[in-house]
């Protein structure tokens, strides 16, 4: 059972949000990129084959400069453990006491790592790369066998955004995956799920089956600045995880369309709407991010993988998604310490993709992947075979990917 959400003293001041030390070398950002994607990657020297930590510009063993990031073995042995009770750093003072220790990795290096509370002072450990509140990669040593109660560890809680006991906002209840997301968050133990409903004069058939007292519908239309302001004023201080589901997709390449009518709606859903949401909900959530427990912690964007490279037949939609992805990248910096999760999806299993051969992404798979990413502290993910394949090709060489379409 998860920790129960504590009642907050409404007269107590909200402490300012603090960040762990931010500046890192460019080499060290490789840790953040790997952590964001849920990979356990370190630098390996292509000359001498050694794995090194912390990341550097050259190999500490042979001075070679051909260093390649790659997945390494996650196992390790705890050499020493201690508990830090005093720190001069304002952020860490708030986190005290926390466990730290030396772990000798099976991959070679010995690292200073956060130690999970349930980890024995000696013996085997499983290492994980996690993003800290500043968006930097840090190493965490966990018990080899995970347990249900594991996420209650204060450090894991600090680094994670598990939905359990948290309050979630699904911004657009009319999105094709909104009902599945609502279900998934409820199943993950969310304290409440606000579901934004635009144009409440239209029927909402999808939610008829979702009868749970934790669901609260709120009037919210991301295409209407005043409506977004009103919603943020009403519930902005009670949202821990915002899942931006605004979505509008129609088929059509640039020359297929005789106008920009659909493209405007796609830009509204992918760019202007999320921008309004960020301008209204962002400051509200960020201002409470310093709360001791269950502070606002995550902003989730659901974007098409076509943002990376236009999918034939949906070129205009892809352009709008590319704008949305750029916005999402900037939000990651501007909303800190909130975690901005960017989930890329392939073709949805909907009426607009009837002519597209499988595999297509179902709403339930999408919803479960997003909840899992929040639980596992992942910030960059591709959901489904198509999106994962395109993301892999993008990481391999974007110039080639753009010519493959």
């Amino acid at each position: 059972m998860s920790t129960t959400r504590p009642k907050r003293n409404p007269l107590a001041p909200t402490p300012p949000a603090l960040l762990p030390p931010v500046p890192r070398s460019r080499a060290a950002l490789g840790l953040a990129a790997a952590a964001a994607a849920g990979r356990f990657a370190l630098q390996r020297c292509e000359s001498c084959g050694k794995v090194q930590y912390p990341p550097r510009e050259i190999c500490a063993f042979c001075l070679g400069d051909a260093l390649r990031w790659g997945e390494v073995a996650r196992g390790g042995t705890v050499l020493a453990a201690t508990t830090v009770r005093i720190s001069a750093d304002p952020y860490f003072r708030r986190l005290m006491p926390w466990r730290t220790g030396l772990v000798r990795m099976d991959a070679g290096p010995t690292v200073v790592a956060f130690l999970h509370g349930a980890l024995a002072a000696e013996g085997r450990a499983r290492l994980a790369l996690r993003l800290d509140k500043a968006g930097q990669g840090v190493i965490l040593a966990l018990p080899e066998e995970g347990t249900a109660a594991m996420n209650d560890d204060p450090v894991l809680r600090e680094l994670g955004c598990a939905p359990a006991q948290r309050r979630v906002l699904i911004t657009d209840g009319r999105a094709p995956f909104a009902a599945a997301l609502t279900r998934a968050f409820l199943d993950a133990g969310a304290a409440s799920v606000f579901v934004g409903i635009a144009e409440d004069w239209r029927p909402l058939p999808d939610f008829a089956a979702l009868d749970d007292p934790r669901i609260a519908r709120v009037p919210l239309d991301a295409s209407d600045a005043e409506a977004v302001h009103r919603a943020a004023a009403s519930i902005g201080g009670r949202v821990d995880i915002l899942v931006n589901t605004t979505w509008h997709q129609r088929p059509g390449d640039i020359l297929d369309r005789q106008d920009t009518i659909f493209s405007r709606e796609e830009m509204e859903a992918a760019f202007f709407g999320p921008m309004r949401l960020a301008q209204s909900f962002g400051p509200a959530m960020r201002s409470l991010a310093g709360e001791a427990a269950f502070a606002p912690c995550a902003w989730v964007n659901i974007l098409s993988v076509a943002a990376l490279a236009p999918a034939p037949g949906f070129a205009a939609f892809a352009a709008a998604q590319a704008a949305g992805l750029s916005l999402a990248h900037s939000l990651r910096r501007e909303l800190r310490p909130l975690r901005v999760v960017n989930a890329l999806v392939g073709p949805l299993d909907d009426v607009w993709h009837e002519h597209v051969p499988p595999p297509k992404l179902g709403a339930i798979a999408l919803a479960r992947a997003i909840v899992a990413a929040l639980e596992d502290g992942i910030e960059d993910l591709a959901i489904g075979d198509v999106a994962q394949d395109i993301l892999a090709r993008y990481r391999d060489d974007p110039a080639i990917l753009l010519r493959e379409a």
Partner: protein
């Protein structure tokens, strides 16, 4: 004294009352819903440019956007394919004298209250004429349903099989256009046609026959319950949009106090 001067004096003296037949333009007001593969009528949107703040210290103003057929709006003949080749069929070319005209108001509020799919028929129009006289040529005919007193979902009344709102059948529209030579047809609902008018032959007869004969439409009217059956003068000039198929507008009725 000229009749116009007498009219002005009556207006100033309150002997002529001005009734606003317009719904407020707001993002919350329903728009017509088409199947999703079609382009949609843009809802009303307001974006603040400045409000005595760093964006403009001494002034408040907004940019707004909407479709030509958003809110209380005027339909020009070019709106429907049946009227596409008529002369002077757009908001900028329709003769301005058409924008001030008397109206006959057929009260079907009781029937529409009992049946959302109420259909205006020729016998109903003839029964109205038996009480109030023959509908004169060049008049508006307004269908009063009190639908404007509803809001939100009840106003749009969209179900699995489409909208359910009152409107005329094809014979009634042809009667008004061909036998009575009306100026146009005005309603309180989102369309001049009934919510289920796609099932008529031809579909959407109020659009098809009215616009096919160069007549006009007024939709989303309000306060028709304040109008007499005859004798109201309607002021309804649309925005002068070049080549426009219609426009949101302020509709006023002048009635004897």
């Amino acid at each position: 004294m000229s009749s116009l001067a007498a009219f002005a004096l009556d207006l100033m003296a309150g002997k002529i009352r001005v009734v606003d037949l317009t719904q407020t333009l707001s993002p919350d007001f329903p728009t017509i819903a088409l199947p999703p593969q079609f382009g949609q009528c843009a809802p009303f949107r307001l974006e603040e440019v400045s409000r005595y703040d760093s964006r403009g210290p001494a002034w408040y103003w907004n940019n707004f956007s909407c479709g030509e057929h958003t809110g209380t709006h005027f339909d020009a003949p070019i709106h429907w394919v049946s009227g596409k080749d008529l002369p002077d069929n757009t908001t900028d070319t329709i003769a301005a004298r058409n924008f001030i005209a008397p109206a006959c108001v057929i009260d079907c509020s009781r029937e529409a209250g009992e049946n959302a799919d109420f259909i205006l028929t020729v016998p109903i129009i003839e029964a109205w004429e038996a009480r109030h006289g023959r509908i004169p040529a060049g008049h508006w005919v307004f269908l009063r349903t009190d639908w404007s007193k509803k809001s939100g979902a009840a106003y749009a009344n969209v179900k699995e099989d489409g909208a359910h709102t009152p409107g005329p059948n094809p014979d009634a529209v042809r009667f008004l256009v061909e036998q009575r030579d009306v100026l146009g047809f005005g309603v309180e609902t989102i369309g001049t046609d009934a919510g289920q008018a796609h099932a008529f032959t031809p579909p959407y007869p109020a659009h098809f026959f009215m616009h096919g004969k160069g007549r006009f439409g007024l939709q989303c009217l309000a306060n028709l319950d304040q109008l007499p059956p005859t004798g109201a003068l309607i002021v309804s000039p649309p925005l002068k949009i070049k080549g426009g198929s219609g426009s949101p507008l302020r509709v006023l009725a002048l009635i004897g106090a």
